[in-house]
Symmetry: C2
Subunit: 253 residues, 2 copies
């Protein structure tokens, strides 16, 4: 693995919504390298458009990232196939719908549609990478992954607690994943935000592998009322998208 590229990755990891602007000295300090080395790094990243230098000399993320992001979004078959189905279920139930994949051990949102009710779940941004152990989609995706990969993923990133209900032991997670796989759908019972419920269904490609998941996020009070109907709708959406991806159920799904 090329150290220079990994350093670039560490630079990217510094930027977030709270701190979108970094100076060379800050970066050098944060990465533990010489200031001149940090300068060479960011100046090179700026030259290819991955970073931009403001008039004050400090660096921000570059617009090339937006361009590349758009190319990725526009050429992702899964998005194009799933869109109409996501829109329909969003239209019918007026709740927040999301499409997610597993990327580098994290749940990554590939498409999101906001709910349209006064009290709704605010969809977190496209592309955001979240822990998989505390969301419906995360459980669905992990449940259909080889167990060795699950072990390794959890070993790397742990099981941080967000609410009282968050699963924080590997044993409990394993049981939950087994249950998720058997019943065919995943649920988040307020494990990341207390008053939030989220149900998710798997999406399979032509070879039968689970490659993505759909989810509906609902405020807890509204979820209790119509749990079964919502779950059925999400599962139908998952099946329908799978069908469009070329999946043909063989025997017991």
């Amino acid at each position: 693995m090329l150290g220079t590229i990994l350093k670039a990755g560490q630079v990217f990891a510094l930027f977030n919504g709270e701190r979108p602007e970094w100076g060379v000295s800050d970066i050098a300090h944060a990465l533990g390298i010489a200031k001149s080395s940090a300068h060479d790094l960011v100046a090179s990243m700026a030259q290819i458009g991955l970073l931009t230098q403001g008039e004050d000399g400090r660096y921000r993320l570059g617009w090339k990232l937006v361009e590349l992001s758009e190319i990725l979004l526009e050429t992702t078959e899964l998005r194009a196939v799933a869109r109409p189905i996501l829109e329909r279920i969003n239209d019918t139930y007026q709740e927040t719908i999301r499409l997610a994949i597993l990327d580098h051990g994290k749940v990554c949102y590939v498409d999101t549609l906001d709910g349209m009710q006064p009290i709704r779940v605010a969809a977190s941004g496209l592309g955001s990478h979240l822990y998989p152990h505390c969301s419906g989609v995360g459980k669905v995706l992990l449940a259909h992954q080889p167990s060795t990969l699950v072990e390794r993923t959890i070993a790397e990133q742990g099981l941080p607690r967000f609410t009282e209900s968050t699963i924080t032991t590997l044993e409990a997670l394993r049981a939950e994943l087994d249950a998720t796989r058997q019943r065919g759908w995943g649920i988040d019972n307020g494990e990341i935000i207390a008053d939030l419920r989220c149900i998710a269904a798997p999406i399979r490609n032509h070879s039968g592998r689970v490659v993505a998941a759909v989810s509906m996020s609902v405020p807890a009070f509204r979820f209790e009322r119509s749990q079964d109907a919502l779950r059925g709708a999400v599962m139908r959406a998952g099946d329908e998208i799978s069908l469009h991806l070329g999946y043909r159920a063989k025997g017991v799904a």
Copy 2:
């Protein structure tokens, strides 16, 4: 400049809407490096999420790009400030409105709102980098740049022709930029697509520097009718955004 980072830039440059998936051998051939070197490069880029490896082994753009893109979009003050004004003008005239900056010598669209009429101008994607010599925003942005930078930019990327009206000589461009600066607005008279007209106004920041431009893109037949009204609206929008950025006109603007 770090060669490894520049190589990464060359890799990114390969990916586009027509060819969103590349194999290691293809990349090695395209960059003129050894296959093993190309592998080290893309494997490293994949490790930090900038690339993803499909099940067939070939590489696609990685979802980290979407995450970083979202961070950039959400933390760009210009976008937040301009949004309501763009929405209002879009609402009033029902035409395609765009917000652009100059990035690495190219026009980069920072925000776009589609028109809402049956015959409308399809807004090209967010983040796309286009030639500045054939668009209204490009002329406005270049016109307020130091002339040495303009010379260098044109020397680097040339003046490719897209239609009969495209400006293709440095001399003609210089005259056009002078005119643009003097009259305070830029126009594209079908210089990129024949039946397309586009008018653009500058946006200044607190220090008076032109940092962006707003534009309205209109089908030619509709533009002829209400040219003056549209131009006035775009210029007012530019002034208003400038005001929100802290610009206070001093003497002759």
